[in-house]
């Protein structure tokens, strides 16, 4: 039965013509035998109906085969599986491998772009890449040097290449593209270099630009209509972004778009979030700095903004709003809602009505969060605590014990949603910081940070991560499982009532959806910052994940994010990740014994 499904889907996947690219992916994303987009499906559920591996038998899971990527730096994202081929990618130099599942690990084709290595130096926080996208018989790669490349899915031959930015100005790409309809959507990275963020839809057929929408700037460039674009149900008015900046500062206004995209085909809306505004020094950029730190709902055909919601106006802590938007149809306070659920870096989990942009729930998903008491549900504004306001404390003043740290209660590592349990399973960080903003000058292509940070676990605690289950209707943690380090791996929930995730030490773990009890753990060759997926081949369920420690998590590799000021000679207080794992990109595929 499984075999038949897999084979027929494979045939469809590779033979459908461009005219029906739209329908093709809409159908394939529902096929649990394949994993056709980085986010699992358009709704970003990271959930699979496969149920051969269950809470009863997962303890017998074992590695089936593995594959070295030959690249050392941080491996974010995860594999795609389309028919008999698996596609994996690497950080810079952004290799892509098509692997044969019939002869596991055999390379059908490989692609390695030639990129100017100087781009490495303008990538914040390692040279990560969060995966390739599939559509219209092509594999789409968003390269570090801001080139978008379409490869023939069967041969790896370049179909087209287009430049999406200028790496000389610090514009790079790390986010996975998303194919929808006959277009592919890509973002831009460079929030620490004063870039001006945008998302761009290119036509899959030839790479020509369909539309581009900036995060900050005049209405005609951010694709806003002051009368029609709303925020919490009210029109935003003309040039809403420009009015929230002083002078020309919006031109280096940030709002990078380096996170995940989701898509509701029925509403024809695209959802995503924008990153930090300009410099990390808030004193240098008065105003709300719209529309940085914002959730956007845009018309997929035109790019026009339908609604927006700025979570962290005038950011003072680097709480980028780019984390995934999970589209789930759940009950909120007894009412069925087409919801958007988002776990923000700022430590609040938001449940919104994704049709209207109405804010329904905003609650902390880590009790340590202290920079704001709550979100005012009328205005949508966080109620900032003065003690932790780096703006109020001012330049050259060290604001201490702010929770979460800049890397957020959760970063890009995506959560999973099980439609069976209606529960969200969220990889989180449990880290606080000291933050001292200071004046910086802007030079194109150079770091534009303007703050210095120390990061450490919350006072009196030793662990730096939690894996939690979240009720997005009540805004409550259902259970929480401690991890020694931040959980920097994308989760996977399955119909076997288990959730998978990786740890920075390198363990792939499976836990029970009911209570988080650990049912399986296997130590892969390196720390896991990649996202777990599942698929079948010849009717058998597999679990796949990339290891390869690095990314922003790799910054803490040596520092240990521990005991920021414990002074000298405090032996034993120093616990660094480098004592647990070393570098190296490896794909590991797991299965139950035959």
């Amino acid at each position: 039965m499984f075999r038949k499904i897999a084979v027929s889907a494979a045939a469809l996947g590779l033979c459908i013509s461009s005219a029906s690219a739209n329908e093709e992916l809409l159908r394939l994303q529902r096929d649990p035998n394949q994993w056709v987009m980085p986010t699992g499906n358009y709704a970003n559920h990271r959930y699979s109906e496969l149920n051969q591996i269950t809470r009863e038998n997962v303890s017998q899971l074992r590695p089936s085969w593995s594959f070295s990527t030959g690249v050392l730096r941080g491996h974010e994202g995860g594999p795609l599986v389309i028919g008999d081929l698996m596609y994996i990618h690497t950080p810079f130099p952004n290799k892509v491998f098509a692997l044969d599942l019939k002869e596991p690990g055999r390379i059908v084709w490989r692609y390695e772009p030639t990129q100017d290595p100087s781009v490495i130096a303008v990538m914040c926080c390692d040279t990560v890449n969060r995966g390739v996208a599939y559509g219209d018989g092509k594999i789409i790669l968003a390269q570090a040097d801001a080139k978008v490349v379409a490869l023939d899915a069967k041969t790896g031959k370049v179909a087209w290449t287009v430049s999406n930015g200028d790496a000389g100005k610090g514009e790079t790409m790390t986010a996975a593209p998303m194919v929808f309809g006959d277009k592919v959507l890509v973002g831009i990275s460079g929030g620490e270099f004063g870039v001006r963020g945008h998302i761009t839809a290119y036509n899959l057929k030839d790479g020509s630009m369909a539309w581009r929408a900036y995060s900050v700037g005049p209405d005609n460039e951010i694709l806003f209509d002051g009368e029609k674009t709303t925020s919490l149900g009210k029109p935003v008015g003309a040039n809403s972004s420009l009015q929230s900046w002083e002078g020309d500062q919006w031109k280096i206004g940030g709002g990078a778009t380096w996170g995940w995209f989701s898509y509701d085909p029925e509403l024809n809306l695209i959802y995503y979030g924008s990153g930090n505004p300009g410099t990390w020094n808030p004193v240098q950029r008065p105003g709300d700095n719209k529309w940085s730190m914002t959730i956007f709902a845009r018309d997929a055909t035109t790019g026009q903004a339908k609604w927006v919601y700025q979570m962290t106006p005038h950011d003072e802590w680097d709480y980028d709003g780019v984390n995934e938007m999970i589209l789930s149809d759940i009950e909120v306070r007894g009412r069925p809602v087409k919801a958007l659920v988002h776990f923000d870096r700022n430590g609040f989990a938001y449940t919104m009505d994704r049709e209207t942009g109405e804010l329904l729930v905003a609650e902390k998903f880590d009790p340590a969060v202290n920079w704001a008491t709550k979100v005012d549900m009328e205005t949508g504004r966080p109620q900032v605590v003065s003690q932790y306001s780096t703006r109020q404390n001012g330049e050259d003043t060290n604001t201490e014990n702010v929770c979460p740290a800049a890397l957020g209660t959760k970063d890009q590592q995506p959560a999973a949603f099980s439609p069976r349990s209606k529960v969200f399973y969220v990889p989180t960080n449990h880290v606080c910081m000291d933050y001292e903003p200071f004046r910086v000058s802007y030079t194109a292509g150079q770091p534009y940070v303007g703050a210095t940070l120390s990061m450490y676990p919350p006072k009196g605690e030793q662990h730096m991560g939690n894996f939690i289950a979240w009720d997005a209707s009540a805004g409550k943690i259902l259970w929480s499982k401690e991890e020694r380090f931040s959980v920097w791996s994308g989760a996977l929930a399955t119909a076997g009532d288990i959730v998978f995730y990786g740890t920075l030490e390198g363990h792939l773990k499976a836990v029970d959806t009911r209570d988080g009890k650990e049912l399986f753990s296997y130590r892969t060759p390196s720390g896991i910052i990649g996202n777990v997926n599942t698929y079948t081949h010849n009717g058998k369920q597999y679990i796949a994940v990339l290891s390869g420690v690095g990314g922003w998590a790799g910054i803490g590799m040596a520092a240990g994010l521990q005991g920021d000021s414990e002074g000298l000679g405090a032996a034993g207080a120093y616990r660094s990740l480098s004592n647990y794992t070393q570098l190296g990109g490896v794909l590991t595929v797991f299965a139950l014994p035959n």
């Binding site: 290595p117 390692d126 620490e192 000291d434 120390s454 690095g550």
Partner: protein, 142 residues
């Protein structure tokens, strides 16, 4: 300020391999570019800490301790002279092979770095010498 090309090449190569030839004796004269009294640092060292945070930390990690992709400067500065340090910061360096992709950009045109090069050096030297702990240093009264 520019070094002879061959010396630069030697240094880049040595760094890439994770070790550096013993420092010339002249480095003795450059010892202690910082002042620390009762755990508090001078203004320059403190400023170096902040400028480090702006330009260097995202690769070289907290407290200069390195990351998964950039060297631990508390170790590197045990071997690099002030001159070698300045040369590397100003001109950058690249070590890109099939197995390694290390690139440090040139900071020669970046005023927030070049103007405070000696301060950054003082901070990192104090860290490297083991006389300054983790995190934000305390500043001496002016």
């Amino acid at each position: 300020m520019r070094f002879a090309p061959q010396l630069v090449a030697v240094m880049g190569c040595a760094l890439a391999m994770g070790f550096v030839a013993p420092r010339p004796a002249s480095a003795q004269a450059e010892e202690k570019p910082y002042q620390i009294e009762n755990g508090k640092v001078d203004r320059g060292t403190y400023n170096g800490y902040r400028r480090y945070g702006n330009a260097c930390e995202r690769c070289h990690g907290q407290d200069g301790s390195g990351s998964s992709f950039a060297p631990d400067l508390t170790q590197s500065l045990k071997r690099l002279s002030h001159e070698q340090f300045a040369e590397t910061v100003i001109n950058g360096r690249q070590n890109v092979t099939s197995s390694q992709q290390s690139v440090m950009p040139p900071f020669g045109q970046v005023e927030d770095v070049v103007l405070y090069l000696d301060d950054i050096y003082a901070y990192l030297k104090a860290r490297s010498d083991g006389v300054l702990g983790h995190g934000r240093p305390q500043r001496m009264a002016n």
